[in-house]
């Protein structure tokens, strides 16, 4: 079975000059969400609905899926700060006015899963709605989890997304954004039976992507953690092992009949730049073995400026361009999440 990207969506605040102040006027919900119905949604939820709807190819006013189709459709979203702003506000309100000062309508915004849940409600996704919350890497982890769930048959289609809004008034955490990819299971050439991994979830994936234009293929994903040793250095064994696992993904990308070698794209916050360079070098070294290579192994580390959405924004850009790539999201705590993106060009999708 192949996992294809059949839609993408993104909304992102452009970085502004320092001292320009926080500004949420960059996003106008009306074109994305209509004039009504979103007043009590947190910014993170609004962004996710906008990006998610774009990836799915639906209008906000479209009816939600129902019945069997909705039971084969899932949502996975990554976020780091979805509740940070509202929690600060509620905490201060509790201490000054008491609980009566909190509006019941805004209480759902105090749950990390609410952006994904609102997308599941509006699109009618009943296979599952999962939220992952690791800082920085959660966006690519959403893709990893979604692709795995497609392979185990939990769904035929999954929106893998991320959304973040760093708490207003805190400088330097990152900019607002959401991004989403629609992943579709393609069983048209599923001669292999390696996907029968025990899930009790039924449902045929065949034919579900009929007529869908595939932008790219997700050929694999890896998640690793590199601890710091007592001497304060990144554990070299863990770093090398993680890099080898990531490099091994390149073989899958090349296997998807791509003639060009995949790009290596590493995304990390500025505070994790040094570690990201070490990761890039380690993956490059691991790739210097016969049969696997990437272009631009010395490419600069991309600065992750949109919190947990950053890695997914890179993935969306690459999927649109049709380039095959290894996208690696790196957090300052030592977490690596990599997604392998293959060229999906195949006659049946033209």
């Amino acid at each position: 079975m192949r996992v294809l990207i059949t839609g993408v969506g993104a909304v992102a605040q452009e970085p502004r000059p320092a001292g320009d102040g926080a500004d949420d006027a960059w996003f106008d919900p009306v074109p994305h969400l209509g004039r009504r119905g979103w007043k009590y949604f947190s910014p993170a939820t609004r962004y996710l609905l906008a990006a998610g709807n774009e990836a799915i190819g639906r209008r906000h006013s479209d009816e939600a899926l129902t019945g069997a189709a909705s039971e084969c459709f899932g949502v996975v979203a990554g976020t780091e700060y979805a509740i940070a702003g509202v929690h600060r506000r509620m905490y201060d309100t509790l201490r000054t006015e008491g609980v009566r000062g909190i509006s019941p309508a805004e209480v759902p915004a105090f749950s990390m899963n609410t952006p994904a849940s609102q997308l599941a409600i509006s699109a009618g996704a009943r296979a599952f709605s999962v939220t992952v919350t690791n800082p920085v890497t959660a966006g690519l982890e959403a893709v990893h989890l979604a692709a795995t769930a497609l392979r185990t048959g939990r769904a035929d289609r999954v929106v893998a997304a991320a959304t973040d809004q760093a708490p207003p008034g805190v400088e330097g955490l990152g900019h607002d954004a959401a991004a989403a990819v629609l992943l579709t299971a393609d069983s048209t050439d599923s001669a292999d039976s390696t996907d029968s991994a025990g899930g009790p979830v039924g449902g045929s994936a065949g034919g579900s992507c009929e007529g869908a234009l595939a932008l790219a293929e997700i050929t694999g994903g890896v998640s690793r953690f590199v601890p710091v040793d007592a001497d304060g250095r990144w554990n070299p064994v863990a770093l090398a092992l993680g890099a080898r696992r990531i490099a091994a993904l390149a073989a899958g990308v090349e296997g998807s009949e791509s003639t060009t070698r995949p790009r290596l794209v590493v995304s990390a916050p500025a505070s994790a730049h040094e570690f990201a360079v070490a990761v890039r070098e380690a993956v490059g070294d691991a790739l210097d073995t016969p049969g696997s290579d990437v272009r631009d192994r010395h490419t600069e580390v991309q600065e992750a400026r949109h919190c947990a959405v950053s890695g997914l924004l890179e993935l969306v850009t690459l999927a649109k361009s049709g380039e095959s790539a290894l996208v690696v999201s790196v957090s300052g705590s030592g977490r690596l999440t990599a997604i392998a993106l293959g060229n999906a060009s195949r006659p049946e999708f033209h």
Partner: protein, 420 residues
């Protein structure tokens, strides 16, 4: 591929250790204590308090020294991280994992609010000090500078803190599907093993006391001001609880290779989403019923017991029991299956609850006993399952269903059976 449990650890209002957990469940008399704060309410709410914890970084902490192998955390974390670290240390010890095995193991954490105490200090000065604790290398973003602005930005670093503390180098994930986060964390950990992405995964859940959580729950009148009594007709809501629980999951082949004892086997697991309302369950419970039916699809016989999510919120309790009962009725009269609601004695531990459900299922299978339900004067007449009170009852058939539900209609169901 079969996934088995080879180690467990727990900290809860019963104290530290799975022995204390099991003893507390059998005693069935635990009551909550007054919360440290009125949480902005007109009354002082109760909660089921976890034990005192040391910093997960503290070498004199509850983790055995040999479990750390000199690996030190560079982000200190908050109370939830400390609770989880204690539970993971016990689970790692019971499973007998080596440093080398941990270096390639996965970590799947379920938590609702993470280290929320870092964002809810007793006073603002403490807040700044708490969030300034992580050094520059420990910061995932721009934390590390002191000040009110930085308050509580590191609440979701739990998986980093735990992985760094124990040198867990494999797949690293945090799932936050509200109150079913723990059930999803266990299921996802199993899926990593079933799909060949890891041989061994630490699955754990934890949550600590949060003023804002209690306050906002009461805004919807979801808090019982006395104690949690999910099977009593007078139930008036949930009562929050603190705790953390960890399980070592591994492939049966890996356990055999290591000579480790399997305590229970995962027979099946399924997910669904109501896609109905951000907080309330869909009234017919159709999606939860579908998940229960999915895990029961190929079983040779009905489970002997169900560890319910049941938290004392009458409407939600009824939707869950009806959905589970309806799916069971294909195999057996639901009254032949024992229902268990552990939240009566340990409160709603949020992101830990689903992992506690699975650990309790494994303990029920190990002991062949189902603990009695606590704080029941008049049994809810609408529950289709058997509701034992007073004394534990024998487990009639060697499999146990665990149901996890949460805000957003996030359902996860797991079926455990006795290890072969």
């Amino acid at each position: 591929m079969t996934v088995v449990v080879t180690g467990m650890g727990s900290v809860s209002c019963f104290g530290s250790g799975t022995t204390a957990l099991w003893d507390g469940l059998l005693r069935a008399d635990q009551l909550p204590v007054p919360a440290p704060d009125d949480c902005g309410l007109s009354f002082r709410p109760n909660f089921y308090a976890g034990p005192e914890t040391r910093s997960p970084d503290d070498p004199s902490g509850s983790a055995p020294q040999d479990a750390t192998h000199g690996v030190s955390s560079h982000a200190p974390g908050g109370r939830t991280s400390a609770l989880i670290a204690a539970a993971v240390a016990e689970a790692v010890g019971e499973a007998g994992l080596t440093h080398e095995q941990l270096a390639d193991a996965g970590l799947s954490v379920g938590t609702s609010l993470g280290d929320i105490d870092l964002a809810e200090p007793a006073d603002s000065a403490t807040a700044a000090a708490a969030s300034a604790g992580s050094g520059p290398r420990g910061s995932d973003s721009a934390a590390g500078q002191a000040g009110e602005d930085e308050r509580g930005l590191a609440t979701h670093h739990v998986a980093s803190v735990i992985a760094a503390r124990f040198g867990i180098g494999g797949p690293n994930h945090t799932l936050s599907t509200a109150c079913s986060a723990g059930a999803y964390a266990v299921s996802w950990g199993a899926e990593l093993i079933e799909t060949g992405q890891a041989d061994l995964v630490l699955v754990c859940g934890g949550d600590a006391f949060s003023r804002v959580a209690v306050g906002t729950l009461e805004r919807f009148e979801l808090v019982d001001s006395e104690h949690c009594r999910p099977f009593d007709t007078a139930r008036a809501g949930m009562v929050t609880g603190e705790g953390a629980v960890a399980m070592v999951l591994e492939s049966a082949e890996s356990a055999r290779r290591r000579g480790a004892t399997a305590h229970a086997e995962l027979a099946a697991h399924a997910w669904s989403c109501d896609a109905h309302h951000p907080m309330a369950p869909e009234p017919t419970g159709e999606q939860l019923r579908r998940s229960v039916a999915d895990v029961l699809a190929d079983v040779p016989e009905a489970p002997g017991a169900v560890v319910l999510h049941r938290a004392g919120v009458a409407g939600n309790d009824t939707v869950e029991a009806d959905a589970v009962g309806e799916a069971l009725s294909v195999l057996i009269a639901p009254a032949e299956v024992v229902g268990s609601a552990p939240k009566a004695v340990m409160g709603h531990t949020a992101g830990a609850a689903g992992v506690f459900g699975c650990a309790i299922a494994a303990l029920i299978l190990r002991h062949g006993l189902v603990p009695p339900n606590a704080h029941v004067e008049n049994v809810d007449p609408d529950c289709p399952l058997a509701v034992p009170v007073g004394n534990p009852v024998p487990l009639a058939r060697p499999s146990v269903l665990v149901s996890g539900t949460g805000f957003g209609g996030n359902n996860a169901v797991l079926l455990w059976r006795a290890a072969e």
